[in-house]
Symmetry: C2
Subunit: 449 residues, 2 copies
């Protein structure tokens, strides 16, 4: 079978035949790191108005309480649980990012955890299915990237639906033919427009991908048929939704190379372009015990894209703060942190933060080759000059967040929603996920009393 | 507001501000004809395996029994009811067809009837919303037609979701801003690939359009936000999913011209290209009281597209029979009918039908200008020659099916599923639909005991 003629079937066969023993230890651990990071985002944003409004809309039509709404007290049928948990985990844009294309976890984990909770499945099976789901969605995405994204498709939604279908199809034990159909039913639901960025529909996309992908697998499990060439056929996903398609990217080195190895986690809930500046400020503050009142001037030297995207000098609220490298530097120096709390309206307008912000100067410099790099210089009132070069922002593949970093991020997101004891329990469940005989314990522990 | 900048909002405003008094009497009656035709298709195919499999897949996750599964005994939440009823009405490809683009009713009526039944709404309001929903989906479709379809999109699904959103949004009483959001949420779910033709996913598309469109309206009713330019924005539906877009088609003559006037109904459950031949054979049989045993030879002269699409000389089963103009002519002469029953495996292989089929000859003739036209000549064993020119097939805009034709089609589809008494009751409900104080009576009457 050539990939040009049978990419869908080759991918389906790989997913169906894969055994947990085939997944390298490093990827198993990475899947747990992805779980911890994704779960924190979902629980932390469970009460956002995006979720409140969507829940109010779907609740009258939801089925029996099969799975947890993470971070809340409600339980819903697994399709709606996947939808809402997929949405909440992406609301802050704080979830994981594949080096090149999609946000891998938000369409896949919500579907898997809902199905796994309902059927009381083993952690090891969910972990295995997750690695495969990520592999499928990333390969489908990369086979049409960047043309597909440039055309206007929100690739996390359009490719994510394949990941959710493959992952839940694996958990359901689909045959090769059923898995091929599941990918086809996913293909014909692939959707999500970039026109929606800046509205609630952005996080709607991974939620829909989770729900529709699982629905594709459930239909295929009942022998609901689709084309066998949903991805590569002449009127299939790739040719209709992209101007370029490389089927070999889907099938090459399957089982030997894992896209999950290119997954990144964000330490700060704002655009990646300001992360290196935040790192530099936090590091200088800690190393030199800087008190912000002693700062005379801050000088940033950054890649031009940084000021292009986050050059707002005088942000007036939390949202604008996310587009201001000046606020990013100031709040890191004043508060010593850069979490979601440091991007509230109140903090952005705080007189102490504003006073430091007004002393931050930034220069575009094309010799700074990446927007993930930065030079930070702080001149103190006593004339002392402190400097820091950040060659790779924390969270990039060159300098990944440590397990401890991920735990700290998780605590900051989850403790305001659940108790510290529950938070600790969830962290333990994530690290021991492959030992769980019933993944439902995680969903139940993530539910507010 | 220019249509280039604000097609979505202009369309939303029109739908929100339209009053039933603004809908011409002819369109009100056409909406009832569309209802009768659509309902017959849905009930008639309620037990097809496509529906059995989909129902088995979604039932464990469905909500409370809010609306009827037409032609069956089950009741489901309104989103799942819309999904399954939308699917069943398209399984045989026997539903209505807009002159140029979509199958208008299958994505719109299932959503409206489910919502209307749940909320015990008035028939007149559902009828009004249907006319508007059809207007929206057809205008959106025509604004990107044929490039969008040629690219590989199944336009009944991709445009149908806008129709379902607009129609149910009207019933829900959305504000102009909410309706604009509903169309945006519809836009970002627009999907359905032509690669799926020939599989169960073809009828999945209008089912999904019905469900997702209604879901868009329900979300918008809770102020779930989307882009205000879901259709015309630079990364919106039209520019991402088509190579051509004419926004004026969406906004020109709104309220003065109705696309429902271009709706057609099929008398026979097979491709339009053989309809004129069937007409000619049925008419000659009736006029001359032909007994098929007396037929020496049948000569057809047709547009070249007819043999291109339905040139199968020796069909071996029902499905192949639908692609054989030879079978179409033979079965019409032998049985005097051309309904779904005449396309069973058994009838296609019936020795009497096969004997006549072998005496049918067809000639491609480019001077026959339309595939909806045909010349039929029958040479009898006694030497007599009978001829018939069918300039326009029954069911075309030039020669529409009469109300009585539609009733006969309805009876043939529905009586094998429900009782004759129930069938009559449903016909009466359709013609008096604008008098119903609660459209639920229709759903309940269409439910098997």
């Amino acid at each position: 079978m050539s990939s040009e003629q049978a990419a869908t079937r080759i991918l389906a066969r790989y997913v169906v035949e894969s055994r947990y023993e085939d997944i390298p230890q490093t990827m198993r651990h990475e899947a747990k790191r992805a779980l911890l990071n994704w779960l924190g985002c979902a629980v932390g944003t469970a009460h956002h108005e995006t979720i409140d409004r969507a829940l109010a809309a779907v609740a009258p039509f939801a089925g029996s309480p099969q799975a947890a709404l993470l971070g809340r007290s409600e339980r819903l049928d697994i399709l709606n649980a996947a939808f809402l948990n997929g949405m909440s985990s992406h609301v802050l844009d704080f979830d994981d990012t594949h080096e090149k294309a999609v946000h891998p976890s938000a369409p896949v984990y919500p579907a898997l955890l809902a199905l796994g909770e309902w059927r009381a499945m083993r952690g090891v099976d969910v972990l295995h299915a997750f690695v495969l789901g990520v592999e499928v969605e990333c390969r489908v995405a990369l086979s049409v990237f960047p043309e597909h994204y440039d055309r206007g498709w929100h690739i996390t939604g359009t490719a994510g639906v394949f990941g959710a279908a493959a992952a839940t199809g694996k958990l359901l034990g689909l045959s090769e033919q059923q898995m091929t159909w599941a990918l086809g039913i996913a293909a014909t639901q692939s959707s999500g427009l970039r026109e929606m960025f800046g509205t609630m529909c952005k996080s709607f996309h991974p939620g829909q991908a989770a729900r529709n992908g699982m629905s594709a697998a459930l239909l295929a499990a009942r022998d609901f048929t689709s084309s066998d060439q949903g991805i590569e056929g002449p009127r299939g996903f790739a040719h209709v939704m992209s101007t370029r398609f490389d089927p070999d990217i889907i099938t090459r080195d399957l089982g030997r190379r894992f896209e999950l190895a290119s997954n990144m986690y964000k330490p700060y809930p704002c655009g990646l372009v300001v992360h290196a500046v935040i790192d530099g400020c936090l590091e200088l503050r800690q190393i030199h015990g800087i008190r912000f009142a002693d700062v005379e001037r801050v000088e940033l030297r950054v890649n031009p894209m940084v000021l292009e995207l986050t050059g707002k000098l005088t942000p007036r609220n939390g949202l604008e703060g996310k587009f201001s490298v000046y606020h990013a530097a100031a709040v890191a120096l004043v508060r010593g942190m850069a979490g979601e709390a440091q991007y509230s309206d109140e903090v952005v307008c705080d007189p102490e933060v504003v006073a430091v912000r007004e002393r931050v100067h930034a220069t575009s410099d094309a010799s700074v080759t990446s927007y993930l790099e930065a030079y930070v210089k702080i001149v103190m009132r006593d004339g002392k000059v402190l400097e820091r070069h950040v060659p790779h922002a924390l969270g990039t593949l060159a300098r990944p967040m440590s397990d401890a970093d991920l735990e700290a991020k998780f605590r900051a997101l989850v403790e305001p929603v659940l108790s510290p004891a529950r938070t600790g329990e969830l962290i333990a469940h994530c690290w021991e996920f492959d030992q769980l005989s019933d993944v439902g314990v995680l969903g139940r522990a993530a539910t507010a009393a």
